[in-house]
């Protein structure tokens, strides 16, 4: 089920009222409801893949319990391998099998040999990269004794499948989210109101910004070789805001939705394009994933407390894996490698000697450059875009449908101004303004903007494919 669907508009109020109606029956009754609602939410897309979530949850639940019962390092390690094997095995099969087969075939072709391509017709289960990482963190935390396993299977399964963040995050840690399935929930007006406002702004980011910009971006990316450097530059900037609006919008809806049930999810985006360094960018972009990779890949590899070369290797490896997590395509690997390269470069070259505003522009420009690989269907296509931009190929600016271009630009500017205010003048935020008339008017204006200028026919969220 999609957040921006009619089904969800019916589903959410029903679950909301049932949830609070059950508050007197206790936490367990509410957890049963949340589990049922979450499985229904996911099963609406394809009920067959519920078995994957169910199996993954069971494995990690029992692995966690077993691990806590033994101090024997080898046994604990074997148990961890079971969890890693099952979760990463699912990912490898559903997400990466065809990529590996294609790369294998291409490698043989490159060396002059020819082997038949054995692709499988596999559907990628929505959100598999998110919930497998969430359950993996549970097992790893127990392995490192940072967390005690839960005996409550219901709460654990509800934690793994919690519908607001099931399909596209934020990727929650058990240490933060799991205890919330045990505590008593209290309805709080301020919390619910804030949740609804976050959802409203999230919808704005998705349907008014991301989906509007996507129409122009998709149009240009259909044949980038025919467009000028200026058009491709504008398209790249548009895509930077499209993916931000799409993913940060989804995260906001998820966080706001969880708030309606008195759950606190972690912040996933903090105005990333105001970052003045790449380190800071990754502290603002997809925070739940970047901290996951930091905690479970970068630090176990040795982090920065090793030699300079080793530390650089750790950074590069972490970002390449992160790129690969995003998708089974070389474009994502190059995107990850570029960000690894940026971080290494920054670490050794930039010593506070560049003005902050200049750094902000540099970080944004280089991030946009990397986004070209993220958006292009192949590395070759990405190079076409970049070479045309860098060589100043062609002339003029293609507008496509001028209405779409204009309203895409307006939506982008509204998002930018809002982010600027939130970053530098938080007291001026209109939907959180102390004066009720201002708050009320802002909410109405956003609702009207979404109705009048939102795109309602491009329903898929980009990050669902990861």
């Amino acid at each position: 089920m999609l957040f921006n669907s009619l089904e969800f508009a019916i589903f959410l109020p029903i679950v909301f009222f049932l949830f609070w109606a059950l508050s007197k029956k206790g936490v367990t009754a509410q957890n049963v409801l949340l589990l049922g609602a979450s499985y229904f939410f996911y099963g609406w897309w394809d009920w067959r893949f519920l078995s994957l979530i169910f199996f993954s949850s069971l494995i990690d639940y029992f692995v966690g319990l077993k691990m806590a019962k033994t101090d024997e390092p080898t046994a604990r390690k074997h148990l961890l391998w079971i969890s890693l094997g099952v979760n990463l095995g699912f990912l490898a099969f559903f997400k990466y099998f065809n990529f590996f087969m294609d790369s294998f075939t291409e490698a043989f072709t490159f060396f002059g040999a020819s082997i038949p391509a054995n692709r499988l017709n596999i559907i990628l289960p929505v959100g598999i990269s998110f919930y497998t990482f969430q359950t993996l963190s549970y097992s790893i935390d127990i392995y490192y004794k940072r967390l005690q396993p839960t005996r409550n299977l219901l709460a654990f399964m509800a934690f793994v499948s919690f519908f607001p963040q099931l399909v596209a995050g934020p990727i929650e840690r058990a240490t933060n989210l799991l205890p919330q399935f045990f505590r008593e929930r209290k309805f709080n007006y301020e919390n619910a109101s804030q949740g609804l406002k976050m959802m409203l702004w999230g919808f704005f980011m998705k349907v008014a910004v991301a989906d509007r910009l996507a129409i122009y971006v998709d149009d240009v990316f259909q044949s980038p070789e025919t467009h000028s450097w200026l058009t491709l530059s504008v398209t790249t900037v548009f895509f930077a805001f499209q993916i931000y609006g799409d993913f940060a919008g989804y995260s906001l809806i998820a966080i706001g939705c969880a708030k309606l049930f008195d759950f606190e999810l972690m912040t996933n985006f903090r105005r990333p394009y105001f970052a003045t360094s790449f380190k800071s960018f990754w502290g603002r972009w997809h925070i739940s994933l970047s901290t996951w990779f930091k905690d479970y890949v970068y630090i176990p590899l040795g982090g920065s407390r090793v030699s300079t070369q080793r530390s650089s290797f750790n950074l590069m490896a972490t970002f390449i894996i992160s790129g690969f997590w995003h998708g089974a395509n070389w474009t994502f690997i190059v995107w990850g490698a570029l960000h690894g390269f940026y971080q290494i470069l920054e670490k050794y070259l930039v010593k506070g000697n560049v003005p902050k505003y200049l750094m902000m522009v540099i970080v944004f420009a280089l991030t946009c450059l990397a986004w070209v690989f993220f958006r292009a269907p192949s590395v070759t296509d990405a190079f076409v875009v970049i070479s045309r931009i860098l060589t100043g190929a062609g002339s003029g600016l293609y507008f496509g449908d001028k209405g779409i271009f204009l309203f895409g630009l307006i939506a982008l500017l509204i998002l930018f101004v809002n982010d600027y205010i939130t970053e530098y003048k938080p007291d001026l935020q209109l939907i959180y303004h102390p004066q009720v008339v201002v708050r009320f008017s802002a909410i109405l204006l956003i609702l009207m903007y979404i109705t009048a200028l939102g795109v309602f026919d491009r329903s898929q969220f980009i990050y669902f494919q990861f």
Binding site: L6, W20, Y189, S193, G403, F440, M448, G454
Partner: protein, 322 residues
């Protein structure tokens, strides 16, 4: 909880009121639109009484001058063509027009591959983008927009949503008179520019794979034609010329040979047009001069059809005559 529900209620009521007020304002703007695409759509659906109506995409909108045709034929002509639109829009407009009156002749400017393109969600959405403001006024439009998605019925309860994304093209004629076509041009949008001096290599189209035709497009086209025939309108399919392009055959043309009861006027290999760069603004659109010349020639070809001296022919027979 009560406080939250009350506040949600207040926001909802305020939204409904604003939706009504702003929606009415926009409707007023639409009705008073001096020219442009919304004026044209409204006129087509609500006022047109012309004897001849032209349907099609940008090539219909730019290639057919009603004034030139009227002068030659002595009949009233209205160009209802719309750039960027395909079969779904033509079908909806056609149903909307026929619900009110029956033109003597409907000319549909088709492309030699128009039944190859699938009638996908995007072509429906593009058409709905123009038609939504007319949702509550015309059953034909309503039936069509409801087909776009199951959400439309509910979303169109909002007056504001009916104008979703249409503001730019609705407001533009108020700021720049005639930018989307002048009222006196009767739906024609003449184009400027010329291909003179530009080197455009010849293209030869020769495809014969019938399998590639889209069944949904065929069905929609057949419904459109039979709807017109049932009402008693003569149906003329026209193929405009492209610069330096020769069309041997295509699956669409092969299919059209089997369509009974329509007249087909095929100019795609008329070298008077296809070899004259002065007539084109780009390889597929005639400029003002080219469109006027084309309209003159088309009118000559239409005369025997209008006076009944030419019996209904399918494409194969028509080509033999030519």
């Amino acid at each position: 909880m009560k406080k939250l529900l009350i506040k949600i209620g207040i926001v909802c009521v305020a939204f409904v009121v604003l939706d009504l007020v702003v929606g009415s304002f926009l409707l007023n703007l639409l009705e008073k639109s001096p020219d442009g695409r919304y004026y044209k759509t409204r006129y087509s659906l609500e006022e047109a009484q012309e004897d001849i109506v032209i349907l099609g995409s940008s090539r219909a909108e730019g290639n057919y001058s009603p004034a030139v045709m009227e002068e030659s034929l002595g009949m009233e002509v209205w160009n209802a063509g719309r750039g960027g639109q395909g079969l779904p829009f033509w079908a909806a407009m056609n149903s909307g027009i026929l619900a009110r009156y029956t033109p003597d002749v409907v000319i549909i400017n088709v492309e030699n591959d128009f039944l190859k393109e699938s009638v996908d969600d995007q072509s429906f959405e593009r058409a709905a983008g123009i038609l939504r403001p007319f949702y509550n006024r015309h059953n034909a439009v309503k039936n069509f927009v409801d087909m776009v998605s199951d959400k439309e019925k509910l979303l169109l309860k909002s007056n504001l949503y009916a104008f979703n994304s249409s503001f730019y093209y609705m407001l533009r004629p108020y700021l720049f008179e005639g930018i989307d076509g002048r009222v006196e041009d009767k739906g024609w949008k003449p184009l400027k520019g010329s291909l003179a001096g530009k080197d455009i290599p010849e293209r030869v189209i020769n495809e014969d794979d019938q399998e590639v035709l889209d069944p949904e497009a065929i069905m929609m086209f057949e419904n459109l034609v039979s709807e017109l025939q049932d009402k008693g309108s003569k149906v003329v399919l026209t193929l405009s010329p492209d610069y330096n392009k020769k069309v041997v055959t295509t699956p669409t043309l092969e299919y059209l040979k089997s369509v009974e009861g329509v007249y087909v006027l095929d100019f795609s290999n008329d070298e008077y047009f296809t070899k004259n760069p002065e007539f084109y603004t780009d390889p597929i659109h005639l400029n003002k001069e080219g469109a006027m010349e084309y309209s003159r020639k088309l009118a000559q070809e239409l005369k025997p059809i209008l006076n009944g001296s030419k019996t209904k022919k399918n494409l194969a027979v028509w080509n033999e005559i030519r």
